[in-house]
């Protein structure tokens, strides 16, 4: 029975955190983009416009939900849930502090990587069931991109795993007691950042939803709360990949003075800031440039990194 209570409690907490986090990240994105473009961003609703996203969320909820006439209704309704639900499950393995993990799985972050695959299928279904050529093109680009970038993403984490000797999130944090893996594995850290940007469909890798050519990509036909779910999913994905980057490369919750969860959130939001900074600084890549970058730069670099790490480890033994 206590197990059931725990599940309900953690589920509620995660759901609450996800919505608050998305509201905050949307505000942060607006502020960051505004400052980078020498604007001031939202100012009037709440302090520094903090409540602007709440107002927008209320607007989204009250919007009419439309259904495309020739689309596949069942799949059209299923897709937003399929995109969003796996991201919620990823919170299972995030280590907030010493002993503060919901489940310290043996497979650790691989669990999250496997779940993002279901998100791709959600994106695929969204594009297909809308029966709209822009949506279909967007979803095909999204999936092609995600398949390609998953390889460097996993390769970059392998160096870290080789050093730590475990996939467990708690073990990975423990292995960084003296030195962050970002210092030991700088190449892996950069590859991971690039690949996770691409996995979350963020600029400069946002060709699946390239506004200037594809309207809005795979969620063109979605309105109201269903659209909001995709949006929520995108920001949650950014948070999760930043949190994993923090755990794998930036020492997780370790830090002086402040308690673990505070350090964890500080580092995670710092990575999120870098992600936003990149988005508002670089122009979008072309489709073929994107693929070339994955297959001709990131993957060879990733393999070289794994190889070098293994050689050094063998000689140090």
């Amino acid at each position: 029975m206590t197990e059931l209570v725990k599940i309900i409690l953690f589920g509620t907490l995660v759901a609450l955190f996800v919505s608050v986090n998305a509201l905050f990240l949307v505000w942060m994105e607006r502020k960051v983009s505004a400052r980078i473009q020498l604007r001031r961003g939202p100012l009037h609703v709440g302090w520094e416009g903090l409540l602007q996203t709440v107002a927008d969320a209320v607007k989204l909820v009250s919007k009419e939900l439309t259904l495309p006439k020739e689309g596949d209704k069942f799949l059209y309704l299923l897709a937003p849930a399929l995109v969003f639900a796996p991201l919620l499950a990823a919170f299972l393995v995030l280590p907030l502090g010493p002993g503060l993990v919901i489940r310290d799985l043996n497979v650790g972050f691989l669990f999250v990587t496997s779940l993002t695959n279901i998100t791709f299928i959600g994106i695929f279904i969204a594009g297909w069931s809308s029966n709209n050529k822009y949506a279909l093109l967007g979803s095909m680009r999204a999936v092609a991109q995600n398949i390609s970038y998953e390889i460097p993403l996993l390769l970059s984490t392998m160096g870290v795993v080789l050093i730590a000797g475990t996939l467990k999130m708690s073990g990975l944090v423990a292995a960084q007691e003296k030195l962050w893996f970002a210092a030991l594995q700088p190449a892996a850290f950069l590859i991971f950042l690039c690949a996770s940007l691409a996995e979350a469909n963020r600029a400069p890798f946002d060709i699946p939803e390239a506004e200037s050519e594809l309207v809005a990509g795979f969620h063109t036909e979605y309105s109201g709360m269903r659209f909001a779910l995709f949006f929520l999913g995108e920001y949650t994905a950014v948070f999760i990949s930043s949190a994993i980057a923090t755990t794998l490369f930036l020492g997780g919750w370790r830090g002086p003075l402040l308690p673990g969860p505070v350090w964890f959130l500080l580092k995670t939001y710092a990575v999120v800031f870098v992600v936003m900074w990149i988005r508002w600084t670089f122009p979008r890549l072309r489709s073929d440039q994107l693929m070339n970058f994955a297959w001709k730069v990131l993957i060879p670099l990733g393999i070289a990194n794994v190889f070098l790490t293994a050689v050094v480890l063998v000689f140090l033994k």
Binding site: L105, L115, N117, I118, I121, F124, V143, I147, L167
Partner: protein, 165 residues
């Protein structure tokens, strides 16, 4: 019935339902999605058996790579509004015969193999699989990678045929 049994029945039910839908539905896109449901059920069964690693790999490889490749092939091959092709009873019978033979063969192999229970401690799944692949089963492991290499080269040669140099 305990909660565990209920969950097991649910997962097994989803797996079987996915498998049945994958061969009976008429829309190819739905077939592929049902296959994904079935594979996901198998992954859940692995978790139920205490092997998280196999479950994760099942999802990454079978759903993330193979099923998505199938979806891609379907999307590239025919438009959504096209009518479904009529089923041919003779072909169904042939397919049934082949799959029945495969089923009987696999069932025999599975029944005649002794299945010692694995130890369930810590990283057993991951470390044991890794060690096994690089020591006991090294030759099959390398043979498989050679086959895959041949397949990749073959695909490249086939796809490059029509293009001007």
């Amino acid at each position: 019935m305990s909660l565990q049994e209920l969950v097991f029945l649910g997962v097994a039910g989803i797996t079987l339902a996915g498998a049945c839908l994958a061969v009976t539905l008429k829309n190819v896109f739905y077939n592929a999605l049902s296959l994904i449901l079935c594979l996901f059920g198998v992954a859940c069964l692995f978790i139920f058996l205490g092997s998280e690693f196999l479950a994760v790999i099942e999802v990454i490889l079978y759903i993330g790579a193979i099923a998505v490749a199938i979806l891609f092939a379907i999307m590239l091959s025919r438009p959504m509004f096209q009518k479904n092709v009529k089923r041919n009873p003779a072909k169904i019978l042939q397919a049934f015969a082949v799959s029945a033979a495969l089923f009987v063969g696999l069932a025999r192999v599975i029944r005649s193999t002794p299945w010692p229970a694995a130890e369930t401690d810590g990283d057993y799944g991951l470390a044991a699989i890794g060690k096994n692949l690089l020591t006991v089963s090294l030759v099959p492991f390398e043979a498989v990678s050679l086959v895959l290499l041949v397949a990749i080269i073959g695909a490249l040669v086939l796809s490059a045929k029509g293009e001007p140099r």
